[in-house]
């Protein structure tokens, strides 16, 4: 934050570099310093890089013609076209799209749609949601309730409906996925399976558990339980949708087809704020054969400007073969990252697919426990990376009890081989440096803290 800033910034003690321009994977601040963007704009939206003339031009052309009309009572060609094109790249069986402005809104709508589906079908008692605790679905109160993270929910607990949560099936706690399935069964029993509207989850996690995905057994077990109990499965593909994991949707690679998918960031790719909720035919039919209404929306839902950008983003992804590129290049990128971080004692796991990679750290004294949170490893990794002019995003949800310090590594799909190599090498330098400091500090400290329940 600059000295005279009037912005109510997320962290008042943090210094925010003032960015003046960006091009491709390079971000330049007012002091002329150039940062390499390994985080697609910092929050995974700018998946096609910065300064794309084709997208800027698509936005301009549409804005000159028709920038805004409200889709509550009017429609426009851009909305109609993007809906068709999105359905065409969605997993088999997805039939309809409702546009929103961003991820949290998409998840809120997905939840309302799941609830409406059951009410329309004459099961008004179904409302409860079960979801993995260590997740992130947005900062609105309803989406905060979809996680089970005290560190995130405090002090807003009085506003949150009581949904049920299961622990993640990470390497640390539940590598087979069986424990999560047992917890899911417990949750179904606790709620009464006939009261459950939806299971809500990220197919591949982002900020909450970088690049983590549950094991195949979990997905199979989830599909069996959906079959048996009749709830819907909603995928939060805010991050993973539109190619991030090397397929159009991560659902394409998951051993279960969800009923509802929410997506956002990569759809506007940093050139428009847009999100979408897609649903399968049977979900749509419940409304079409019932009340024929699913009202309530936001001002910018389906606005022509945002939808035209979405159309141009799809064009770019298709014409440049970027989804395939991410798939192929992502596998090698992960190997390169693993190799560069090999031998660093605080690095416990490098995981992920496509251009959504995650690094998990652990206490080097046992290679297993969370790092002591007061060491602030996540923050130090980002600071060290920034000193090397590299943008990363690390998190420390240690207080939630399910994960310790972690980093996300999610470059734009358009990064060149040289740029990717440079990102990997700068990142390794940063992790090395912090690891060295941390090992020294720990040499003087007490026993590691064991992973466990939220505190």
């Amino acid at each position: 934050m600059t000295v005279h800033s009037k912005v109510l910034a997320p962290e008042l003690n943090r210094r925010y570099p003032v960015v003046v321009r960006a091009e491709g994977v390079w971000i330049e601040d007012s002091a002329g310093r150039r940062y390499l963007d390994a985080m697609s704009g910092g929050s995974l939206a700018a998946s096609l890089g910065h300064g794309r003339r084709d997208l800027v031009e698509a936005a301009r052309r549409q804005a000159e013609r028709l920038s805004y009309v409200h889709n509550e009572r009017l429609t426009n060609p851009a909305q109609e076209r993007l809906a068709r094109e999105l359905v065409a790249v969605a997993p088999e069986g997805f039939a309809r799209v409702r546009f929103v402005t961003g991820g949290a809104e998409a998840n809120e709508l997905a939840l309302r749609l799941a609830r409406s589906y059951h009410v329309e079908r004459g099961e008004p008692q179904r409302w409860q949601v079960i979801s993995p605790a260590q997740a992130y679905h947005g900062p609105t109160l309803q989406t905060l309730a979809l996680t089970g993270r005290p560190g995130l929910q405090r002090p807003f607990d009085p506003y949150l409906p009581s949904h049920l949560h299961i622990p993640p099936s990470t390497q640390r706690f539940d590598p087979s996925g069986e424990a999560a399935l047992a917890a899911l069964d417990d949750a179904l029993a606790e709620a009464g399976a006939e009261n459950v509207a939806a299971f809500f989850c990220e197919p591949v996690s982002a900020a909450a558990l970088p690049a983590y995905s549950p094991p195949p057994r979990f997905w199979e077990g989830l599909a069996e339980r959906r079959e048996e109990h009749g709830f819907l499965v909603c995928f939060d593909e805010i991050v993973t949708g539109m190619g991030r994991t090397g397929s159009w949707f991560a659902a394409d690679e998951t051993p279960l087809l969800p009923d509802i998918v929410a997506t956002a960031k990569g759809l506007g790719a940093g050139y428009a704020a847009i999100g979408a909720v897609l649903c399968r035919q049977h979900v749509y039919d419940a409304v079409a054969e019932g009340s024929r209404r699913l009202t309530l929306g936001h001002t910018w839902d389906g606005a022509p400007l945002s939808c035209a950008v979405g159309v141009a983003v799809l064009d770019a992804l298709r014409s440049e073969g970027l989804v395939e590129h991410v798939r192929e290049r992502g596998a090698r990128l992960r190997e390169e990252l693993e190799e560069a971080l090999a031998g660093i004692e605080i690095v416990r796991e490098v995981r992920g697919r496509g251009f959504l990679l995650g690094v998990e750290y652990a206490d080097p004294r046992d290679g297993e426990s969370f790092l002591p949170p007061e060491l602030g490893v996540a923050r130090r990794i980002d600071d060290a990376a920034l000193e090397s002019d590299l943008v990363t995003l690390s998190t420390q949800p240690t207080h939630d009890g399910y994960a310790g310090d972690q980093s996300l590594f999610a470059p734009p799909f358009t990064s060149s081989d040289r740029e990717l190599a440079e990102m990997v090498s700068r990142f390794a330098v940063a992790v090395h440096r912090v690891a060295g400091e941390v090992e020294d500090e720990l040499a003087a400290a007490s026993a590691p803290i064991e992973a466990g329940e939220p505190r």
Partner: protein, 457 residues
């Protein structure tokens, strides 16, 4: 007019809000005119359908400002970076806000702004060591957004319908409309009861629109209510959050409607007119006292959305403010509004359907009543709101009517919110077409009411 072009349910991949509604296909727009592919022109009297395009469509300066910023840097996450558009827009907005406002937090739209305001008010009290304060009291007949938390800020069963299990049990008071409580005293009594019901020291905020839009078009509580509200804030220590999602940025003839109230709120949210249809952007503004709770407390207000404070929407916000200033549009709204209201009132004076024409600035509302007593809500099955919009569209006019009758606080109503840039001729045309519309629907309603079988009453 040629045959209007509609998109209907079987021919779209969009999950429409209402599957049986034909949606006019708008292809192009300029100024206050919307065009369909057949060349039909519709006069846009409600800002693109949602009180958004306050300076009209296809304004070259705004398109160019967006293009220029997007080419330089369109998006960055404001948890890691800032940009001069974000910094400058924060300063500009504060310069226009009521005295004492010192910080701005940007978001993407109105619902997000209101969600953030609820979290901000709650956090303020927690920071100051009053963690028992969480409850919100708000007028029942309002609209603050479609997210679950913002739906909880209203007390409307028709809006909540089957989402009730997710809603926070906040407390609500009835509106002080001419029908129920013209003085505002009943609402103040209800507020006192709510404060008592919540329990001492548990209320975090009072949340309301200074002038309502979709929920009670053009309605504002009477002066006495505002004074009483301010007295109770002093006594009980809750914050007042004003939802200026619609009214902010000049809509009511001042930059913020708060300027016209006899007290200064603690938190203001705004959105629609800030991006004016050229970018989705919203903002939460707070008084220094609120900010200081964080500055002297945890020094963090974390949780945000992807697009909060991104350079593209902030640059558009700056260009919108510049445009409003350069063309003296807020002044135009202020000066022109009384004449617009008077001419709409005059044009509708003879309609038996119209009970009240009200509003401030370019935010006007028509409240309909049953012509048999001039007072009761119209029978909802007559679908008057829907008929008004259909008839208006047939006359080349886009307005926004609502029928929240089953919420119990109001019946059929129409919202009119023209662009500030509308010419005198265009404003006259809005009034003229609206009067024709109401006359036509009024005739139909009278004949339906004359044959009781048709209404079931």
């Amino acid at each position: 007019m040629s045959e209007p072009v509609f998109v209907r349910e079987p021919e779209t991949s969009v999950f429409l809000r209402e599957l049986d509604r034909p949606y006019p296909l708008i292809q192009r727009a300029e100024g206050v005119w919307l065009y369909d592919p057949a060349g039909n022109a519709y006069l846009d009297a409600v800002g693109g359908g949602a009180m958004v395009t306050s300076v009209g469509h296809a304004v070259p300066e705004l398109v160019e400002a967006a293009r220029e910023q997007a080419a330089r840097v369109s998006f960055l996450y404001n948890q890691q970076f800032t940009t001069s558009p974000q910094e400058d827009l924060a300063r500009e907005l504060l310069a226009l806000a009521p005295d004492g406002f010192t910080r701005v937090h940007f978001v993407t739209g109105g619902a997000e702004a209101n969600e953030t305001a609820v979290r901000l008010a709650r956090s303020y009290h927690v920071e100051r060591g009053a963690p028992q304060r969480w409850q919100v009291v708000s007028p029942a007949q309002a609209y603050h957004g479609p997210t679950v938390a913002t739906l909880s800020l209203t007390g409307r069963p028709g809006l909540h319908h089957h989402y009730t299990p997710y809603l926070t049990p906040h407390l609500h008071i009835p509106p002080s409309t001419w029908r129920f409580d013209p003085t505002g005293e009943a609402a103040l009594e209800a507020l006192d009861r709510a404060l008592e019901e919540a329990g001492p020291g548990t209320v975090s905020a009072f949340f309301c629109e200074p002038v309502s839009a979709a929920a009670l078009p053009g309605y504002s509580p009477p002066e006495r209510f505002w004074q009483g509200l301010a007295e109770r804030r002093d006594e009980h220590g809750f914050l007042i959050c004003l939802d200026e999602v619609v009214t902010g940025m000049g809509r009511t003839g001042t930059w913020f409607a708060a300027e016209q109230l006899p007290f200064v709120p603690d938190v203001i949210t705004t959105a629609k007119g800030l991006g004016a249809g050229y970018a989705p952007i919203g903002a939460v503004l707070c008084r220094d006292e609120v900010y200081q709770a964080f500055a002297e407390g945890s020094r963090a207000f974390e949780l945000g959305h992807t697009w909060d404070g991104a350079p593209l929407p902030c640059a558009v916000g700056l260009a919108v403010i510049r445009y409003l200033r350069d063309h003296a549009l807020v002044e135009r709204v202020r000066d022109e509004a009384p004449r617009l209201l008077a001419s709409l009132q005059a044009a509708l004076a003879d309609s038996e359907l119209v009970a009240q024409v009200r509003g401030r600035g370019f935010l006007l509302g028509i409240d309909y009543a049953d012509p048999r007593d001039g007072r009761s809500f119209l029978p909802p099955e007559l679908g008057v709101a829907r008929r008004i919009d259909v008839e208006a569209l047939a006359r080349g006019l886009v307005v926004y009517s609502t029928q929240p009758t089953r919420d119990g606080y109001t019946g059929d109503q129409t919202l009119i919110a023209p662009a500030f840039t509308s010419t005198d001729e265009e404003l006259s045309l809005v009034v003229e077409r609206m009067a024709e519309t109401v006359t036509a629907v009024g005739r139909e309603v009278l004949s339906r009411l004359a044959s009781p079988a048709a209404t079931g009453t």
